[in-house]
């Protein structure tokens, strides 16, 4: 190696290290899911970056559980400053002391949110509604109620979520349909057993649940998120149903701050995403109901305004304790041929 080349290499190395150091100045790393969830997070994150003159970096989590697993693995040296997750996963993370406490005094906008949407270490940004969806051009009859999923005419045409989908909520919904709940899970498996002959395949994530229908691989999705399908409803072939003959399952999505070193900037983001503007923008992409009453939901979900008394939030303590056992049983009894 000649001297000049050595010098060049040294310069290059120096540049890399220097560049790395420069990039570390005032940046906020946001972890979120892919697809529309990332688009929504980017809409808020980019506005935040513009307002405070900082750089925002986006990292993807494959699913909620993996996202929290990553936070857990990095506990000694957190690399993520804001994590998007479901309310129950955030509570779980808080219990494991993976999240920084939110200083409400320094985040005045949190006062605009309803009480249940603000916790010690996380806030709710929006609410999710669950239902089922089908391809009106492929099904033999239009489905209207949960019990239709067990109709023998749908043999081999239903895509079913896995036991772990959305932290076991398909199993909980099945329990509600069968007259039980997360505290009495037995009825879930009676209902699922009736649906089983109709199941074509299983989907583990939101993206897969949408694809099952858009690709025509299945004509019915047994259980899914309204947010995932809202943008497809205009196409005409897709129908989303939230039956009102049973309780309606719902959960919240919010943010938490895993990194104490960046807590100050992260808190600014938490405060920012509580504003009506940010939430309207977020829900514009994700088609959801914002937690801030002053923010507005997109008109495409106007048709889905279920009566408040039917809304049901499952106890995340029970979910976190029981999910592995439910999932084992689901695999043994349902996810098998």
């Amino acid at each position: 190696m000649t001297k000049s080349r050595l010098f060049g290499t040294a310069l290059l190395l120096f540049g890399l290290i220097g560049g790395g150091a420069a990039a570390q100045a005032e940046s906020l790393t946001i972890q979120t899911w892919g697809g529309v969830w990332e688009q929504g997070a980017r809409a808020v994150g980019d506005a935040f970056a513009a307002k405070y003159g900082v750089e925002v970096i986006y990292e993807q989590q494959e699913n909620t559980r993996l996202g929290i697993a990553k936070i857990r693995a990095q506990a000694a040296d957190p690399q993520v400053d804001i994590v998007f997750s479901t309310a129950d996963a955030l509570e779980q993370a808080a219990e494991e002391q993976l999240l920084v406490t939110i200083d409400r005094a320094k985040a005045p906008n949190l006062a605009q949110l309803p009480d249940h949407a603000v916790r010690d270490t996380s806030i709710d940004v929006m609410n999710i509604l669950f239902g089922f969806a089908f391809r009106s051009d492929l099904v033999p009859f239009p489905l209207t109620k949960w019990e239709d999923l067990a109709d023998p005419r749908l043999a081999g045409q239903i895509a079913s979520p896995t036991g772990q989908f959305s932290s076991g909520r398909w199993i909980i919904m099945a329990a509600l349909i069968g007259g039980g709940s997360e505290h009495d899970i037995g009825p879930a498996f009676d209902f699922l057993a009736k649906v089983k002959p109709n199941i074509s395949n299983f989907v583990a994530t939101d993206g897969e649940s949408v694809k099952a229908l858009t690709s025509g691989e299945a004509s019915v999705l047994a259980f899914g998120l309204l947010s995932d399908f809202a943008s497809h409803l205009a196409d005409g072939n897709l129908t989303f149903v939230i039956p009102t003959d049973h309780k309606i399952l719902t959960t919240a999505v919010g943010v938490g701050m895993p990194n104490p070193k960046k807590a100050e900037l992260a808190l600014k983001f938490v405060d920012f995403i509580a504003t009506p503007e940010a939430q309207t923008a977020y829900c514009g992409f994700i088609t959801c109901t914002p937690s801030n009453p002053k923010a507005s939901a997109p008109s495409s979900i106007d048709a889905f305004r279920p009566p408040a008394e039917l809304l049901y939030r499952a106890d995340w303590h029970v979910i976190n304790a029981e999910l592995p056992a439910w999932d084992d049983r689901f695999k043994k009894e349902i996810q098998t041929r």
């Binding site: 892919g34 697809g35 990292e59 993206g207 694809k211 025509g216």
Partner: protein, 272 residues
């Protein structure tokens, strides 16, 4: 008709099964190439129009571009490591006789005999225990392990077929072993090394299982393709598949020109 029969005296069953096998291997590529130009996101076959928009989508998506770069980096690195280590090791085992040689030969083939899920899990646990979280480095090291047997196989087969007399002459004339290796052996086994390098590259580039256990934030191209298949239904992957198979086809013809298939199939690459 009998005059045109390429394989006289062969029953119908093996012919039909061979045709079925070749169809199973070739037909998918043709279907994919046709679907890739269908303008509708529903991936029609036969295509109901003509459009390059899925190719455009594939090339403009940053996720695929970054994944391709990542895959190239890892595959080139792993192939380089496997090639150096494989050439030296092959030279050692082919040109030397020593006690325990059989064991060394077996050990060099070991990574190929262990199911990939065990390798992937093993590396995941090893790197976690060693507190190594650098995705690129971890994947590169793991790929060096899985590509080594291929390099060793192809190069040793090549070494076995080359004449040793030249090397011996050089040694007799007083050239040191290193000089002999550099001046005589290396040029002779060059075609074998090219084949070995291509092989190692392909094995690394194609790897899914071991990589899936080791990726953290950035994925290789097969990982990105996999997650796209799971969540999207438009023909973007058909476009990527078509491009990849065209690249493979070109590469394959190039290798065939340079070194010939014999080196690959008989030489050992696929002859596990």
């Amino acid at each position: 008709m009998r005059r045109f029969d390429p394989i006289p005296g062969l029953g119908l069953t093996p012919r039909l099964l061979t045709v079925a096998a070749c169809l199973l291997l070739v037909l998918p590529h043709i279907v994919v190439a046709l679907v890739s130009v269908d303008p509708s996101p529903a991936a029609h076959f036969p295509p109901q129009g003509f459009s390059f928009k899925w190719y455009l989508n594939a090339f403009t998506r940053p996720a695929f571009r970054e994944a391709l770069g990542f895959s190239m980096l890892v595959a080139l690195g792993a192939a380089a490591i496997a090639l150096v280590a494989g050439t030296l090791a092959s030279w050692f085992i082919v040109r030397h006789r020593f006690p325990g040689r059989g064991l060394v030969v077996t050990l060099l083939q070991l990574p190929m005999m262990i199911p990939e899920v065990v390798l992937g899990l093993g590396f995941l646990i090893l790197f976690a225990r060693a507190q190594l979280y650098a995705s690129v480095l971890n994947i590169l090291l793991a790929h060096a392990v899985i590509t080594l047997p291929y390099a060793v196989r192809v190069i040793s087969a090549n070494l076995q077929t080359t004449q040793r007399s030249l090397e011996e002459a050089a040694l007799v004339l007083g050239a040191g072993p290193l000089r002999t290796f550099w001046k005589i052996t290396l040029p002779v086994i060059q075609p074998g090394m090219i084949a070995a390098g291509v092989f190692a590259f392909v094995v690394s580039f194609d790897n899914f299982t071991v990589t899936a256990f080791l990726v953290t934030t950035r994925g290789t191209l097969p990982i990105e393709i996999y997650s796209y298949i799971r969540t999207e239904s438009d023909p973007t992957i058909a476009a990527i598949s078509t491009v990849l198979i065209l690249v493979s086809l070109t590469g394959l013809l190039l290798v065939e020109r340079l070194v010939g298939f014999g080196r690959i199939t008989q030489g050992g690459g696929l002859d596990k």
